[in-house]
Symmetry: C2
DNA sequence: TGAACATTTGAATGATTATTCAATTGTATT
DNA sequence: AATACAATTGAATAATCATTCAAATGTTCA
């Protein structure tokens, strides 16, 4: 190994060393991935960004986001299982809302990245 | 439509109204999704978080992240095509690095979410 | 030019995933 | 209890995706 010839070899080995030492355990990486995965489908992201405006029931979510009640419900189940949204029953309806502030921040960060285009 | 009976019906309609008015166009939603999608695979997230420590070549990335050179290269291609990382050639090697500050922030946010557990 | 190194590519496989449709559960109303 | 409304579920299909292996490209050095 290490048979690499490159001017900046030292910096790279140092970076590699830091990366190895600081690398999160796989279990953590998988948890983080799950959050991103939940936001990586247009339909789900639409639901989440709709909920950023306040609590809503499935009926309204379907009206706002389009698609069938069933597909919205399936998406909500995934979002719920992965703690992106939370739900509570109010009579016949289920009220969905954003699970916590972190989710808001992550989504807002995605939106921010959209507007501020690439630097290089 | 609108035949919903629920105590908080007014709030929900207001939220739905705001959501409709403020909803990002599909093209924007898809762009944001792409970013999240890139970070939603453990292998890719590992690569990205390794690169948070500094520029590295494919050889070192493979050493740090595991897997085959080929799979790392395939993942890097996706990350590159979607502006998560950037590359430049240095002699025989390709040097990869994080594309911009936004990517760093989004990843850091994911890590932060990990430590600060659910509020409710 | 040829040999060795570093990385990329393409095609193929198997695994995950979103959506649809039909059937079902839970709740309120009469 | 029966009806209607709201949401969920499960199975099936089609689409997307990560990984592998073998072959190819680009680069340096003798």
């Amino acid at each position: 190994m290490g048979n690499i010839s490159c001017e900046r070899e030292k910096e790279h080995q140092a970076a590699a060393q830091r990366a190895k030492e600081g690398m999160l355990p796989d279990s953590d990486l998988e948890k983080i991935c799950k959050i991103f995965q939940m936001l990586s489908d247009p339909g789900r992201l639409k639901i989440v960004s709709a909920l950023m405006n306040g609590e809503m029931c499935v009926y309204h979510l379907t009206e706002v986001c389009g698609g069938s009640t069933s597909s919205v419900s399936h998406q909500l189940r995934l979002l719920r299982d992965n703690d992106i949204v939370k739900a509570r029953r109010m009579g016949k309806n289920m009220e969905y809302s954003i699970a916590d502030e972190h989710v808001r921040e992550i989504v807002n960060m995605g939106v921010a990245h959209l507007h501020c285009e690439v630097d290089e």
